[in-house]
Each structure stands twice: as structure tokens, then as C-alpha cells.
Amino acid sequence: MLRDITFGQYYEGRSVVHKTDPRVKILLLILIIVFIFIAENAFSLGFAAVMIIITAIISRVPFGMYLKNMKAILPVLIFTGIINLFYGDGGKVLLSFWKLSVTTDGVYRAIFMAVRITMLIFVSSALTYTTTPNDLTDAIESLLSPLKFIGLKSAVHTLAMMMTIALRFIPTLIEEAEKIMNAQKARGADLENGRLKERVKALIPVLIPLLISSVRRAYELAEAMECRCYNGGEGRTRMKQMHMSARDFWALAFAISVCGGIITLNIFF
């Protein structure tokens, strides 16, 4: 059901990965994603994959949680895999029909792409599982703060606040949606059966009350914030200050050496 959505869910823990500064984690995630695409042969990608899996292991988040995220993108993975199968332009022909042929090169490409996508999911899951959504938005706000020099001072804070609120209300909305679905089912609504068109129509009695309650909640929240003198980011301090520590520099060093390894392996093989 709706509760099964795990993407962006925090998994409580006290590992090194959890404790690393979220700003550092975001920057390293971007860096590693770029290098996953820079890796161009089996050795460098394999090296990256091993390092990412090591990171996943030291995060002490159960491996099953990572695989659960994989399940969601399995169709994409299979689809790109199949497309790539036919794109090989060299090697032995394994299978051919009509104008298409599968070659050893195609198989290699398909596996290569699959590993690449898997690693992207793993490394981004490693960030979202070990960082609370609030830490993430705080970190994004902090990383975007240079934008204030080009006249976007309030925009950065507003954006971060919007993200915090949106994340905070996802579980609330899911709960609300379930309640409304149950209420309409109790009135005989059929949400599970029927053709696509009927099913879409059956969602109207759920979506309208959900929309109305979201707007009502937004007004209530805005009022509550104003009552506590919220007036944007100016002069606002934080309860949790983010500080870089030795741990963060070790993380940085680890990531940079992984990147160095990828480049080296790219050159030598």
C-alpha cells in the first residue's frame, strides 16, 4: 500500500556515515555520481561499485533496505538493459532476428549500464537513509547560501523552508489519504477494480477531499507560523549548527581517492 514508499526515508543509526556533515555528504554524492559516469571500463566501474558497497556496509543500514529501493526502478533497469543489448556494434553475434542482433558487445553494454544505474541508486540511498530530511534541507540551504550574493537572499531560505514543509507533510498526507480512502470505501466506493477509466474516476472522491484538507492545513500552518513571529530567514538562528570535523575531512579524502582510482583505472585499462 501507500506506506511502502521508502525513497527518502531515514533509517535511524549512529554509523560514521550517519554522523558525517550532511553538506559534505551532498557534495560527495554529486562528485561520486559524476565519477560513476566518468568510469568508462569494467575495471574503473567495478572499483567504484566495490567502494560504494563498502560505504553501504559501513552505514550499517540493512542491505535489504538498499535492495528495496532497487525494486522501484527495476522496470527502468530492465528496459535500458534490453535497449542496450541491441546497441552493441562489435564482438561475436549471439542472436539475430529481423534487423536486430545481439552481440557480445551488446551484452557487455547492457550489464555495464545496469551496474551504473544500480550504483546511482545505491549511493543516493546511502545519503537519504543516513540523513534526516531536515538535515538534508538545512544542508541544501547552507550550500545554496552563496546565491545571496547575486540578490537571491530570501529565495534560498524560502526554498529550503518549502522543502522542509513538503517533506514534513508527506507522512501526514499519506495518513490522510488512507483515512479518506477508507471512508469512501465504507460508502461503497470501489477503488480496486474496474478498467483504467473507471479507476481514475473512482479517485475523484479521494483527491478532492485530500486537496481541500491540504489547503486548509496550509492556511493553518501559515497562521501558526505567523503567530510565532516567523518572518523569513533574516536574523534566524539554528538550534543545530553544522560544523565540519575531522571525520568529514576523512570522508572527503576517501571520496577523492576513489575518484583518483577511477581515473587511474580509466587510463591504464
Binding site: 483515512k179 465504507a186 461503497g188 466506493a189
Partner: protein, 287 residues
Amino acid sequence: MSVLEVKNLTHTYGGNTPFVNDAVKGVSFTAEKGEIIGIIGHTGSGKSTLVQHLNGLLKPTSGEILLDGVNIWENPKEIRKVRSKVGLVFQYPEYQLFEETVFKDIAFGPKNMGLTGKELEKRVVDTCNMIGVKPEYFEKSPFDLSGGEKRRVAIAGVMAMNPEVIVFDEPTAGLDPKGREDVTEIIANYRRCTGATVIIISHSMEDMAVIADKLLVMNKGSLQMFGTVEEVFKNGDALREIGLNVPIVTRVFYELKKAGVPVPDNVFTVESAVKVLEKLRDGDGNA
């Protein structure tokens, strides 16, 4: 004649996770035709989980629910028929309104049962007459109504399915005293007109004393007591132990009795309290 029979019902949330939680444990009770049963219990005692089994929104982990002697899960494909026989009015039902007009919204339930045309119209009009939704409201948007009126329309939406058992989850929550009285009146009236069985979850012992025939006390997922209002409210100490209490007026009479005033201890409503006190006064006057 028993309409609804719950046998050894257990529901466990989160079956395969570390957060296993028995929300309802081995609950059994029977509801007779035309009875009003009040369910009381502390927050998190499993009241809401229990009632969501009665119309098949939740499937029991073990145990069964018999409606007119038939297990409601005997044919899972027919579960929607059960939902029109056992109406369930959720907490804050006004949040489920969605149609353009009050009339259409009330017609949603009966329409899902397959009613059409004249029959559908008659059903909606009859329900509105019974619970006091005036015809001039029919073409209004439900979102333009006041809180109390919205609640009334939402309740009408479930009652229009003519269920033989109707369950309310805290029907008076968030209403002013007048609204509470109105809703209580609507419920009593529905029973009078249709002879249906009514089950109400409530936190208000005072409301329960007025309206219920029997009380079912839940504590930590288990059934603690099930009996007439008098049988349950006589166990004041046991109720207090699980964070509940007896009606305020009963507490007053308990103290009066301790102070030596000759009053009975089975006074649960203000109305009966007035009668007892009047009798006492008149008795004193005569003596």
C-alpha cells in the same frame, strides 16, 4: 436476534517487522437487533481498529465476524455488499465530502449500491427527511455549510445506504454542545425509524449514559467489560484503573452517599439525577 457476532477477533499490525503490535486481542461480543452499544476505552485501546473490522475494511488476523449468521469474509469479492449493510461513519466525517451539491454527496453511497433514477432520489429525500437536512440545502455546495451542518450531511451520506448496523467513531468530536445534542438526536432517531443496531465509539461517559443500552470497555486491545450501562458504571474503580471514569453526575452521587445523603448509586444521567433529587426534596417536604 443477534445481527452481528464477533468471535475471538485478533488483529496484528506490522506482521513481519520488528514493530509487531497486537491492536486487538481475542475480542468476542454479540450485538442484538436494535441495540445501541457504546464502545469506550483509552486512546490507543484498539477501538477504531475493532470497528474497522465490522464492515471488512480490515481483515482479521484471526477470528471471525458473522453478519446475520454469515462470515463476512466467506466470499471476499462480495465485501462491498457487507459495507452497505454495515455503515461506518469515521471521525470527522465532514472531511470526506467531495461532490458539488449536498444531494449528490448523499447519493454517493446508495449509487454505489446500484440504485438509480427515482429510487435513488427517493432514498436521498427520505434520509434527509429523517435526519433533518432541509430541501433548500440540496443544491448547495457541501463546502458552504457550517461545521455542524457538514457533519449532518456526511452522516446522511452513510445513513442513505440504509445499513442494518451503523457504526460511529466519535460522532460528536469537535462539535459545540448544540451540535453534540443534534448528532445524538440523529442517531437515536435513525434507530427508532429503522430498527438498526448502532455502535458508537465515544470518550464521553455522559453521552454514553444517555444513549447507550450496553457498553463495551476496551483496554490495551482486549475486551475488559461488556454489559448494560448500569453493570459497567457500577465498576467505577475498575474503570478508573484503566484511565476511564464514570459520568460526573454518578461521581457527585457517590460523594453524596459518602456524606450520608440517602441516594441510590445507579444514577448515570442528569435526567435521572433530577428525578431522584426531586423525589428526595418532596419526600423531605412531606415529612
